[in-house]
Structure formats: C-alpha cells, structure tokens
Amino acid sequence: MSGDVIDNRTEFHLLYQGLTRAEGFHLYLVQCNNSRLQSEIQASLIEQLEAAGMTVYLRRLSEPVESLADFLPAGFSPKKGERPVLMVNGLDISFSQTDDSQAFLHRLNFARDVLPKKFPLPLVLWLPVGAFKKIITEAHDLWSWRSGTFYFSTPPEMVQAQFQETIAVKEREGEKGLSEKSYKERLALYTGLLEDLQTQPESEKNRLQQADVMQQMAELHHKFSNTLLPADKRSECLEKALASQKQALAIKEPILGPDHPEAAISSHNLASIYRSLGRLPEAREALEKAIKIQEKTFGPNHPDLASSYNDLSLIYLGLGQLDRALAFQLKDVAISEKVLGSDHPSLASSYNNLSLIYRALGQLDRALAFQLKTTEIFEKVLSPDHPELAQSYNNLSGIYQDLGQLDLALDFQLKTVKISETVLDPNHSLLALAYNNLSLIYKALGQLDRALAFQLKTLEIKEKVLGSDHPSLAASYNNLSLIYRDMKKYDPALDYARRAVAIMQKLFPNGHPYLDSFRKNLADIIKASSKTGR
C-alpha cells in the first residue's frame, strides 16, 4: 500500500478504506480534473462500497447553491443497521459562479456546526480542479476540519488519447444515419472533452485541440440537422453548428495563419453549414476562401481541392448559376478521375452531381449517362441498402420520368423506397420524398389506388414533422387533390385543393406561380365537379 507511487489507484484505495472505516460525520474532499474520470471512479467506488455492505447516497447539484447544509436533504438519518455514505456531485457549479462563490465558500465555513448534526455519516464532496485552493483561502475553517483529501487526475496525454478515440469512433460510425440518441451521446462526449481541455494549462496546443473539438461538434450538429426536423428545429441545430464552426475557425486562424490548410478545412465546413442554412452567398464566400488556400497549398490535383470544387459547384447550382456550377463540377471530376480509383464512391458522387446539373440544363442524355455511371459504382462498392444508392436510384427514376420512360422510372423508384424504408427513420424527409415520387409515377401510370396510398403515406410523415403552413404540405394536399380528381372523387379533391390554396395564400403573394397553379387546379376541379352535377 505505501509503495512509492501515489496515483489514482492508490488514492482510490485510500478513499475506499477511509470510508469503510469511518463512523459518524467525517468530511472527505476529493478533487478531480476530469468529469469522465470522476464518473468512472464514482461508479467503481460505489460498487465496491456496496459490496462491502455500505449504502451509498449520491446527490447531484444542478444549480449553484447558497448553502450546502440547506441543499442536502434535511434530517438525513441512516436507517438502522445501515452504513451510509453521502456523496455530493455538481459543486463545480457553485464554485464557478464568481459572484456567489465567495458567499458560498464563506458559508461553507460555518457548516461544521450544522453538517455533523444533519448528517452523522461520512460526507464526500467531489470538487473541480482549483477548488481546494479556493477552500484553503476562503473557507479555511472547513478545510481545517476535513478528515481527508484525495486527488484524481487525468494526465494530459490521456486527454489527447481520449480525443483520438472519439475521432476513431466517429470514423467507425461512418455513413450510418445519426439517431437522436447517438447525437446526444456524442455531444455529451465532446462537451466533456472540451471541458477537460479547458482545465488544462493554457497553450497553443491546448487551444487548437479545443478548436478541433468545436469543429467536431459543428459537424455533429450539422449531420444531425439533416434528419427531418421541423424547420425551426433544423435551423436551430444548424445555428449551433455555425456558431461552433465559427468559434473553431476564430481560434485556428490567428494561431495557424490565414493560409494554413486547416483553416481551409474549417472554412470549407463553414461553407457547408451556410449551404444547409440556405445562405448561399456566405457559403460561396467561405468556400472560395478555402479553395484559394488549397490551390496554393496543394497544387492542382489534390482530392481536397476536388471536394471543394464539388461543393462550390453545388452552391452555384443553388444560386441558379448553372454554367459556373458545371464548370466547377467538371474541375472536380477531372481531378477525381485522376487521383481516385475508377470505383471510388467520391467519384460516383461527382458523377451524380454532374448529372443533376445536366438535368437542370435540360441535357437529359448526359444526365442519364452520368447517373448510370454513379449507380454502377455505388452498386459495386456500397451495401445494397445504402442511402446513397437509394438516392441514385431516385435520381435515375426522375430522369426516366423526364424522358417519359415510366416503367423504368417505377422500377427505380420502388428500389429507392425499399432501401429508404429499411434504413431511414420512419419520419425521415427522404422517405417522404421517395413515397411522393412513387405516388406521382403511379398516378402517371394511371394506378390511382397505389398513387393515393403512397401520397397519403407522404402526408402522414409531413403532417407529423412540418408546421401546418408548410409549402411542402400544401404540395401534398395538391397532389392528393389531383389524384382524387383523376379518381373522379370530387369531394375530397375539392377539400384538399382548398386546403392547398389556403396554405399557399398565406405564404405567397398573388401572382406567384405556385399560388396561381394551385388556384388553377382548384378552379379546374370545381369545373369538373360541376360538370358531373355535384
């Protein structure tokens, strides 16, 4: 036991032994510099204490308290035959509020008269790093009648190791969809990591590590925002991503310099977030900045540069500047074909985007050619129910619809739906989209029952997750009205057509093509229904 080494293990053992041998009120103070380590130690300690026949009561403070004695439950008397221990967590909150921590500390000083009466049992206070120093200075009375002090710490190398571990976890998770549970877990992990880093001594290295964690958090928020959330929630999430990424960039840039490749990555991420937020001009600006650095640093054939070209192309596509979109996408493809294998998924993505642009330009043959190339690669390298494959099938279906080849369109859309149902959350936007497209193909094919069924499925999802005045909802109502009209069921057709117009009226001004078209549809249905004398 009294070896030469004083480390977490010995401290643990000493704390354990102290607690098992203590009777009546005793104050034990523990300082731990890492919240994850603290949780692990507590869990282990509780397990061992309970195995030794003791009862552990764990209390967590969730807000700053004025007085410890008041916070802890009154008259905490142990039950007969019980050997209790009371542990208190969360005091870091009370310590960190600089205004009130003084008062809190001063009051701690008087606790000696109150605490032992209220709690005639060992009391363990788990404190953040720096707490001891404060207590020694501001609450010396409390300090002087402690029965024991213990230190647990994570050495800096371990913090780094933890960080590497979280990155590895992320890579392993790969392209799987992000569930809310995973999101929250990973966010908690990153937050904890950030807090740990913040307790380490200040240094450039430390700040860069913090910036890295913030960047990871931004990516996490961004990724999570892509699952179908109500629009306001999605924006909220994206704003978090934006804030985090901006913060990371703000730290990195001055330390690394404005031409550092890492600044390029951060800018690139920033651009993606802006894009998701629909703030395309800002996205373009951030991305052009990243590209400038990358062109300087990497030379003309770097995959990172290709990736940036790709994203810039999509931004231009969003801005409606198709020529520029095409130009940059071609640049991307040129590099990707050179440096990636011919079956590389990234290359496939580039082909996919090229196809989109060609389709927007109305060049359907080229659109089809590239979409087929995409599909070919994905079928080779991805699992058969990979979402990206589903997306590719969806695009193919769309092109075939445009080309009027409805059977093929149907085939591919069914494939899309099948995969989407397998891998996506039942309320995912892409699933809603897949159902919608399927519905429209069935309608075009005259299979109205099926068209109706799938449109109702779409609606079900949309009604669940969108606000009641969402244009997408209006579109579904409109589609339903069209299907019912084809079925010659004019009552529901009218009903849905009216609902569609009602929403659109709120969102768009008179003369807007969306509004006009829905109104026209309503008018047509009214006319058609009157013809049949209803």
Binding site: M1, S2, G3, A22, F25, D113, S144, S147
Partner: protein, 463 residues
C-alpha cells in the same frame, strides 16, 4: 494462543477504536479523558487560560474596572477547547458566564457591531431568565417601550394578550421582551433587508442601546451577587470567523475592513459593556498594524500559539512540545500496537507544526490506510502520508506568496500587511511564542519543491 485471524480482528478493532478518537473536527474539553493540557508547551503566552481567569478574578475581587479581553489563535490550535476550559474554571470560581456563539447569533458574512451588541443583550436576558434570575420587570418594560419607540418591533395586540395570559413566569414561558429580542435577532441574522432597517434605526440611538445593556448588566449583577456570584462574564466565541471584507464606501466607508470597523472603530461599544468580556478575534487583526492600538483599547490581547515543536532559528526539535503531542496521541490510540515506538509519532508531531488538528488528521490518515497485518506502522508509511499531504500545499500559494514565504522562512518574521495575514490565516505561516512571537513556514510547505527552489533563489541572490 490466538489465531492469526483473531489477532487480525483484534488489531482491526484497535484501528477502528483509534479512528473513533481521531476526529479533527471535534472540540473536547477538560473533562474529556483525552484532554491533554498543552498550556506549558505553547510558550510563555501559553498559559493563557490561567492568565485570563486570573485577570478576571483579580479585577472582580478588587472591584476594579471590568476587563475586555481579546482572544485568538490559529484554526485548530485548540481555541474552543481552551474557552470551554475557561468557562468551567470561571463558573467554578463563582462567575456567571454568558456564552455567545457568533455562528449562531450573527450572519458572519455581514458582521456589524450593532448585531453583536444586540446579541449580547438578548443572551443576557435569556441566560438570567433561564437560570431562575429574571431581570426586573420595570427594566424589561422600558426596553420594550424603546423597541416600540424606535420601531424595531411592534408589539401587537396578540402579543400583549398572550403576554398577559402567560404572566411572566421565569423559566416557564418566554416573556414578551425575550420574544422581541429573538425576533429582532432573527431578522438581523437572516434578512439582509431587515438588517439594514434595524441597524439604521438603532445606530443613532446606539447610546441608548448601550445604556440598556449596561442597565441589564448592573441589575443582573445585583441579582447574581445576592445569589453568591462574583459577577458576570461574557464570552463571545467564534467572532474571528467573521468575514474579512473591505466594504468600501458602504456603511463602513473609506476602505476599512469589517474587522477594523468592529474591533477598532467601535471598540468603545465592545469595551463599554460594564462586565468582564472575552471576545475572540481574528489572528490577522492582532498581528496587524493595529496591534499597539488594540493594546490601548483593550486589555492585553491573548493569543493561543501553536504548540512549540521546534526551537526558534535552529529549527531543532523542541522535546517538550513534541512530548506533549505524543501524549495527545497516546490518549487517542494504542501507541504501542499501532506505532511500535514513539519515534514515528515524534516525526508526525514535527511535521504538523504544532497544530493539534493537523496532528490528529495525520494520525487519522495513517490509521485509515493501514492494514491490520501491516501493523505497526513503518517509516515508509509516514513518509507516504507526508508526501500526500504536501500536495495540498503545492498549488495553493501564488508565485508572489512563495516569495513571501521564503522570506518568512529566513527571517522568522512577518510584515504587517494583508498578504502576510492571508498566509497566517491559511496556516501557511504559523505563529509561535517563546516570550516573543516568532513565525515559521508550515513544515509541509517547507517540503514543496517550488518553495525550496524559490528559497534557494533568494539565498543565492544574497537577498
């Protein structure tokens, strides 16, 4: 022949028994079998309690002016124990003690002399009443009226009728004034807004409050003398725990600390109560620039120094002081079975710097750690514990403080400034007495690498 497990069990129980007696937070008094009189080894000043009670006795017997004594010492030096002793001694010598605990009576975060005076008045009334010697009704009535006049406490009709119905039976019911005192006291302690109001009302009428208090004391002592007492002594404990703050331009104004405001600026109130009084005060105040002034305002302040475990300037062990601490240990645990011999205990005594609480804590730590089969404790066990404790001193002082400490180490003296007072307060510097006060850096702190480095730096620079 006891089996090994039986032996082990026995030893284990020894350890548990020892732990029962090693609670650093416990304050014991003379009657406790574990009590060891440390007076002799605290230095000349050490025989403090005796000095205090002699002073009081003499004054009482001679009928001379009542004494106001300031009493202080480090945390864990045994102040409360000594005061308990004192209270007993005084009572035995027929002095009626009114003991007040600042922690109960005041809000120590916002201390003010008015609150202190008020609590004294309240306690005198209560103590006299509870001991079957209630203060005379006319006096109580005039105080009641005064309350009403300055609107501290309004007597409601309900109060009055309850009072009438109850009659004022000493000891059986609490008289109206007692209730009023308690209510006002509660307001002063717990409500910061009420506190302000009450203080504002009393302050201009403070001389009246003093008048009433002294009237209570005078009447009280009359009654006490009839019952065979020599007089009244107020013992106000734990005042040193009051917050040291510099409220700036609030009520106290011009950068005076709370301590200075109470003990210096309002000394005439504290000292003006006409019976013997003992107030505990913060150590840093006694060692401040006001030291001389305090000597003028009050009867010579007494400080309970650390037990002298080393000698000035040589830092050689002081055998007497160490022997006393060994005695303390001996009364709390089975020395022979747990330590084998006294050498290790002496080391611990030395390491503790003479602070009894720290000494007990170190003993506790050792007893907690050791396995029964590893008894008796060894030197390596002691060293291990010392190393653990040294950590507590490693990061606490700032860079400037390390420098200050190094200089104190060299000179055995401190400067009268806030920085040093903080260090005294934190026990980084300890005070000793051998006819004059001298100071040293806490032995645990002396082992800290950074301290040694700074010290070397200073000595090599030739100061």
């Amino acid at each position: 022949m006891p089996s090994t497990t039986e032996k082990k069990d026995k030893l284990y129980r020894l350890l548990i028994e020892a732990l029962r007696n090693l609670d650093p937070a416990e304050a014991i008094d003379e009657s406790d079998p574990r009590y060891v009189n440390c007076a002799q080894v605290r230095g000349e000043e050490g025989i403090v309690v005796t000095k205090i009670h002699q002073a009081i006795l003499r004054a009482s017997e001679a009928g001379s002016k009542p004494r106001t004594i300031l009493f202080s010492g480090h945390n864990g030096s045994g102040k409360s124990t000594e005061l308990k002793s004192l209270e007993k001694e005084l009572t035995q010598r027929k002095l009626f003690t009114v003991k007040i605990d600042a922690q109960e009576a005041l809000d120590l975060e916002d201390p003010y002399y008015i609150d202190i005076l008020f609590s004294i008045a309240s306690e005198i009334e209560r103590r006299m009443r509870e001991n079957g010697m209630p203060l005379p009704q006319p006096l109580m009535d005039s105080i009641k009226n005064w309350f009403k006049e300055i609107e501290i406490e309004k007597t409601t009709d309900a109060d009055v009728s309850a009072d009438i119905e109850a009659g004022v039976e000493a000891g059986a019911k609490i008289p109206l004034l007692g209730k009023l005192f308690t209510r006002a006291k509660g307001k002063l302690k717990y409500s910061s807004t009420e506190r302000k109001t009450i203080r504002q009302k009393i302050e201009p009428a403070c001389s009246q409050l003093m008048g009433f208090i002294n009237a209570m004391v005078a009447e009280g002592e009359k009654i006490l003398k009839e019952k065979g007492y020599l007089g009244m002594v107020i013992i106000y404990d734990n005042l040193e725990k009051m917050k040291l703050a510099y409220p700036g331009n609030s009520e106290t104004g011009d950068g005076r600390s709370t301590h200075e405001t109470i003990f210096i600026d309002n000394s005439h109130h504290l000292a003006g109560i006409l019976c013997h009084k003992i107030y505990t005060v913060p150590l840093s105040l006694l060692y401040s620039i006001h030291h001389a002034r305090l000597g003028q305002l009050y009867d010579l302040p007494y400080v309970l120094p650390m037990i002298k475990v080393s000698q000035t300037r040589s830092r050689k062990r002081d055998e007497k002081g160490i022997a006393v601490l060994v005695q303390v240990a001996g009364k709390r645990l089975d020395k022979d079975r747990i330590f084998g011999n006294d050498d290790l205990i002496q080391e611990i005594a030395s390491f503790s710097g003479g602070n009894v609480r720290d000494f007990i804590r170190i003993l506790r730590s050792l007893v907690e750690q050791v396995q029964p089969e590893d008894l008796p404790l060894q030197k390596k066990d002691i060293e291990f514990t010392f190393r653990r404790i040294t950590r507590e001193y490693e990061t606490a002082p700032s860079d400037e403080e390390f420098e200050l400490l190094a200089r104190v180490y060299e000179s055995f003296a401190i400067s009268n400034d806030r920085a040093h007072f903080r260090l005294l307060n934190n026990h980084f510097i300890l005070a000793y007495d051998n006819g004059a006060t001298w100071y040293d850096v806490h032995p645990a702190l002396q082992r800290v690498a950074k301290f040694k480095a700074v010290l070397e730096n200073i000595t090599s620079q030739g100061k």
